[in-house]
Amino acid sequence: MITLQLLINGVALGAAYALVALGFVLVLNATSAVNFAQGDLVMAGGLLAVALAPHIPLPGIALLPLTILLMAALGLILALAAYLPLRNRPPVGVFISTIATGIILQNGATILFGPEPRAAPPLFSGGTVSVGGLTVAEQSLAIIAVAAILIAAQQWVFARTQLGRRLRATAQDPEMARACGVPVTAMILVTFALGTAYAGAAGLLLANRYFVTPTAGGDLILKAYIAVTIGGWGSVPGAVVGALLIALFEVGVSSVLSYPVALGALYATLLVILVARPQGLFGEAARRRA
């Protein structure tokens, strides 16, 4: 019984991580740039939801569209300030510019919100649900459902729509896409907006159960990085599965052994995977630019 409860918690955590990793990998594929501010964008999304909550006294699910929209706008700003000026420069430059963005977000948040941990409103009531003697936090189930819908929406847009085809073309080969008349720069901006919106959604989902502080992003970027790597650099489904695996590993090992051991074991397992299977668990999808 308790195992099932832990499993649900692990999947809920993994679902939120998956949104973070998804946003990370979309930007990575479109620009081959590592967005190191992704974790801080999650934090920003969480605090944005905290800030919106007193003005809109509705459950979190009603705040979600607004949070996503505002975060998408932030994503555009990020792309304009930290990516576009450096797009034809060594990619490590974007690494540094997104680190700088992270510093700005983190300290801006401290100035605006103070250092206290905050809680965003729950998606629905925030209570617990009893199913056959099993007590499950409603929020956990809601996180899983919302994350699943958002991930499915991304898959649908990319697979079925004209916009999605253009986004995929940009990610596969920007020169070719440009030759075919795809507005590549606009597509990159859309990708940044999308990736940031997913970070914001993850922030809202995480900030109720696990609270949010201005320094919360550092841990999340590491998790996203690991998820994307074990899932196969550049693979979208791989990133989602990788995120779920990390969360289940975290919850699973720490319920048998302890948190420090779980963390140590996570990195040790990661090293073993890397050495034994250097292309990630599911193979590498990112194109290599010649």
């Binding site: 206290e116 609270f211 320094t215 948190y259």
Partner: protein, 373 residues
């Protein structure tokens, strides 16, 4: 690089700036960024509030410098502050940073006034450190005594953070429970980045404890209490000082807090005397936030320093002498050095009744000497 030089030179000139007579400086060197920024901000606010009301005989200046979380930044901040008519420093509550600043403070002969709970800072034989907060030896003895003597529990389970705060508290709690004849049935460290605390809660309950003793930071404390409440855990919870911070309680519904107790040096929002209520009101209006024990401790410390100035102390050494020999009736308690710079020897246990986020003082422990180490 050419632009760099004038700035460098300007910096040098500023650092060597002219000194004014009868003006004293009380720099505030506390963590305003990083994982201790919440507590550091309380320290800053407490110190700033105390310094607002200075004796008329001197001009007071006070720079606030962020020390971040690294010892390196703390030492750099102290070096920056030193040599500018510094009378005393309100210094970081991060134990590692204190340990790094202590040798330098001794060289510069500057008293450090802190609320750090880390035991070892007053065990370095350094006469320049003054701790206006009960050390772990005091608070953890009160913590354990309340659990064993007042609640009558014999099977405590301890969950602590793998940080300096958690590891130091854990060491003292283990000793205290042992000497009280209630050995821990379970103990585990939790990384501050851990998200889900249900695993550790489950394991702790499997050891059949009769009380859950926490020594976690603010966020994790709230997370743990919420998960315990959601799962209908009946075992009482006695938390560490992070629970008493108003921002921790703000994360929880009052109902979730029912029956939860916490150890702390003081709980200014709980009132107790007109002076404390005045302090709380002034703090709220100045900073638009709720004060905690760290703010009050730092406030009391800086007040004692200013009392010494009022009584004629003008040099850091005068202040050191006044602090190490005098007695100060502060708002939280009466402070007096034990010869090592430990000024605070009282702790309180506060409990939440389930209707409000403001705890009530359940038990006061004065003149606690602390168990060994």
């Amino acid at each position: 690089m050419r632009r760099l030089l004038p700035v460098l030179l300007g910096l040098a000139i500023a650092a060597a700036g002219p000194a004014r007579a009868e003006s004293l400086s009380f720099p505030v060197l506390v963590p305003l960024t990083g994982f201790l920024s919440l507590e550091g901000t309380s320290q800053r606010n407490g110190a700033v509030l105390a310094l607002k009301d200075a004796p008329a005989s001197v001009t007071i200046s006070s720079d606030v410098i962020d020390t971040g979380t690294s010892p390196e930044a703390a030492v750099t901040a102290l070096e920056r502050a030193a040599g500018r008519n510094v009378a005393a420093v309100a210094a970081s509550m991060l134990g590692t940073q204190m340990l790094a600043m202590l040798p330098l403070a001794a060289e510069y002969k500057i008293p450090l006034v802190t609320v750090s709970g880390t035991a070892s800072i007053t065990e370095q034989g350094n006469p320049w450190v003054f701790r206006f907060f009960p050390g772990d030896a005091v608070t953890k003895e009160a913590h354990a005594r309340y659990v064993v003597e007042e609640l009558g529990k014999k099977r405590p389970a301890l969950i602590y953070q793998t940080t300096a705060y958690g590891q130091s508290g854990k060491a003292h709690l283990t000793e205290a429970f042992k000497s009280l004849g209630a050995d821990l049935v379970f103990e585990e460290g939790v990384d501050p980045a851990a998200k889900d605390l249900l695993p550790v809660l489950t394991k702790a309950l499997a050891a059949k404890p009769d009380v859950l003793v926490l020594h976690l930071h603010s966020g994790p404390t709230a997370l743990f209490i919420r998960q315990a409440a959601a799962n209908g855990v009946e075992v009482p919870i006695v938390a560490g000082s992070a629970m008493h911070q108003p921002s921790t309680a703000a994360l929880l519904e009052p109902a979730e807090l029912k029956g939860v107790c916490a150890e702390t040096a003081a709980s200014p929002i709980s009132g107790g005397s007109p002076e404390v209520e005045d302090f709380t009101a002034a703090y709220r209006s100045a900073f638009n936030t709720e004060p905690d024990a760290f703010a009050l401790g730092q406030y009391d410390g800086m007040r004692m320093v200013l009392e010494a100035v009022k009584a004629g102390a003008r040099t850091p050494d005068d202040i050191r002498k006044a602090l190490s020999t005098g007695t100060h009736r502060g708002l939280a308690m009466t402070y007096r050095s034990d010869g090592k710079g430990n000024m605070a020897h009282s702790a309180v246990i506060v409990c939440y009744d389930g209707t409000s986020r403001v705890p009530k003082i359940a038990k006061r422990y004065d003149n606690v000497t602390g168990v060994v180490k």
